[in-house]
Symmetry: C2
Subunit: 319 residues, 2 copies
C-alpha cells in the first residue's frame, strides 16, 4: 500500500469508540476489561472464492466478516466487546472500502462492538477478524457440557444459505421471494448474540451452525462424549416450497448446509418451559429437535423414527 | 481443507497451554485476565511475496509471523499473554506445517505466550496473528507521550534486515559472515519484549522499527506534536564493512530499512544514567541518537550538524 492508500483506509476505519482507552493508530490498542470477567477470544478468516463469490458486494463482505465472528461469541454466551481487522486487498479502491466499512460498521454498531486495530496489506482479497468478548467465569456455553437426556434445540430454520449458493451456482431455481430470503441468510446472517446471552446458565452446551447442523451438532456430541438423535420432522420449516426441490438436495441443505449461523444448543428437560417462554417473548423460533443419548455420532430420524441416510456429510458449496 | 487436512493441522497446533481456561477446539477460547490490568491488543498479517519471499523456509515464516506481533507488545511495554492464528494455505503440507509450527512455538515458548485459537483456510499463503498482552493502566508506552527535550534512543543497530533483502534481490553483495548476520535479522528478528517491560515508567513514548527508523520515529513526532532530530554518527554500528557499500544504499538501509524490530523510544534526560546502567547490565546496545524538538518532522544531521538529504523516505524492498 502506498501512503495515499493508507490515508484512504484510515479515512474509513478510524472511528472513536466508547470504552476504548486507545484505539487505532498506535502499536496496539488499549482496552479496560470488566473486572471479574473471563475473556472469550475467537478469530476467523474469509477468503475470496472460498467463503464468498468473487465480485460479492463489499457491504456484504464487511457485514459477513464480522457476523461469523459475532456468531462465535453468541455460541459461547459471551458479550462481544472489541475486534481487530486484518484486511488484505489487491488494490485500495475507495468505493469498495466505503461499502465494506458500511457493512462492517452497520453490524458492529448494532452489537456495540468496537474496531480497535489491525492492519491492511496488499494481496489476494481476504479478511481476518479477531473478536474479544466477556463472560462470567464458569458460565460460558462450551461444546463439552451436554448431558445424556438433554434436549437439543435449534434457534431457527437452517439450510437457506446453502440454497442461495446452489441457486447462484445454477444448480437449482428458487422463486424470487424465496431467493430473496435465502440470499439474505447467506449474505447478511444475523448472529444470535442476544440468544447466546439469554442461554447462559440454562443451556449445557452450544455451537453455531457454520458447517452444517449434523457436522456442528457432531462437535457437541464428540466433545461431550455422547451421541445425538434429531428428528427431521421437528426441524423448523424454511419458507421454501419444498415440493419443488429434489429430496437429496433438500435434505443436504437442511442437514449439511453451512453458513446459517443459527445456534444449536442443549438444555435439560427442566428448562423447556422457560425456553418456550423466552422464545415467545422475544419472537425467537426456538425448536426442540431431539435429544442427547449415550453413544456417539449424530443420528437423523424420520417422522416414523427410521434412520435417514445422509448421502453427503458435508455440503461444501465452493468445492 | 478436507477433514484429513484439518486433522493434520490439529496435530501441529493443538497444545495445552498453562493459564488458559479453554484452548483450541471450541467456538472461542477462554482466558482469565490478570485483575487490574489493561489489555494491549494488536494484529498483523504477513502475505507471501509481500512480507517474505516465495519459498521462504516455513520455520522462518512461523517465527517471524509471531515476532512482528510480539514486537508490537514490546513497543507498548505490554506483557504478551495469548495469540490467535489465522492461517491461509494453498495446500496442507505436513512438512511445511511442521516447520512453521516449530518456528512459531520456538518463539512463543521463549516468551511464554499461548496459542489459543484461530482458523485455517485454503487460499494464497498468508498468516494473520492477533496478540493480546497486559499492561498496568496508564503505563503503556504510547506514541504520543514524547516531550520537547526528551532524548531519542534506539535499542540496537538498524538496517541489517534491509541489506539482506538487497542481497537476495541481487542488488548488492555481502561477505558470508555479514550475510549470515543480516539474514538472521531479516528472518528471525528478536522482539524486544524484555526491554519494553523495562522501559515502563521510564520512556515517554516508544515504537518498533518495522517501516524504517525515519518513518517510525516520524510517527512518534507526529502523534506527540513535535519534531525529532537524530544524528547519523550516533547510530549504533552495523557489523558490515561500510566502505564496500554505496553511500545512498547505506543511508537508505539505516534510515529507511524496515523489518529490524528494534525499539525507538524517548525518555527525559534525567533517565540517561539509569538507561545506560540497564543497557550495560542486560547487554542491550542502547544508543542515544538525538532529541525531540519543537516543530515537526524528522531531521537527520551528519557529524557536523548539517542536514542529510534523504533521497528515498521509504525502502520498500518488495516493490
Amino acid at each position: 500500500m502506498s501512503l495515499d492508500e493508507f490515508g484512504l483506509i484510515q479515512r474509513f476505519f478510524s472511528r472513536h469508540a466508547a470504552g476504548v482507552v486507545l484505539g487505532v493508530g498506535d502499536d496496539a490498542a488499549l482496552v479496560a476489561p470488566t473486572p471479574g470477567r473471563q475473556l472469550a477470544i475467537s478469530a476467523d478468516t474469509l477468503v475470496e472464492g472460498r467463503h464468498f463469490f468473487p465480485g460479492t458486494d463489499p457491504y456484504t463482505i464487511g457485514w459477513k466478516s464480522l457476523a461469523v465472528n459475532l456468531s462465535d461469541m453468541a455460541a459461547m454466551g459471551a458479550l462481544p466487546r472489541w475486534f481487530t481487522l486484518c484486511l488484505t486487498l489487491p488494490v485500495a479502491d475507495a468505493v469498495w472500502l466505503e461499502g465494506f466499512a458500511a457493512g462492517l460498521f452497520a453490524l458492529a454498531d448494532a452489537h456495540g462492538v468496537a474496531l480497535i486495530g489491525g492492519d491492511t496489506t496488499s494481496g489476494p482479497l481476504a479478511i481476518s477478524i479477531q473478536i474479544i468478548g466477556e463472560v462470567e467465569p464458569g458460565l460460558a456455553l462450551r461444546r463439552d457440557g451436554a448431558k445424556a437426556g438433554d434436549d437439543i434445540w435449534l434457534s431457527g430454520p437452517v439450510g437457506a444459505a446453502a440454497l442461495a449458493v446452489q441457486q447462484r451456482l445454477g444448480k437449482l431455481v428458487l422463486a424470487d421471494a424465496e431467493l430473496a430470503h435465502c440470499a439474505m441468510r447467506l449474505d447478511q446472517p444475523a448472529p444470535r448474540v442476544a440468544l447466546g446471552q439469554a442461554l447462559v446458565g440454562m443451556a449445557t452446551a452450544a455451537i453455531d451452525i457454520s458447517d452444517g447442523l449434523v457436522a456442528d451438532l457432531g462437535h457437541i456430541a464428540e466433545r461431550s462424549g455422547l451421541g445425538a438423535q434429531i428428528c427431521l420432522s421437528l426441524l423448523p420449516s424454511l419458507p421454501i416450497h419444498a415440493a419443488r426441490l429434489a429430496t437429496p438436495d433438500w435434505l443436504a441443505a437442511q442437514l449439511s448446509g453451512g453458513d446459517d449461523y443459527e445456534l444449536c444448543f442443549t438444555a435439560p428437560a427442566s428448562a423447556r418451559e422457560q425456553l418456550v417462554a423466552i422464545g415467545a417473548a422475544k419472537g425467537w423460533p426456538l425448536a426442540r429437535i431431539g435429544s442427547m443419548v449415550d453413544g456417539a455420532g449424530v443420528a437423523v430420524l424420520d417422522a416414523a423414527g427410521r434412520p435417514v441416510s445422509l448421502a453427503r456429510s458435508g455440503f461444501n458449496h465452493f468445492s
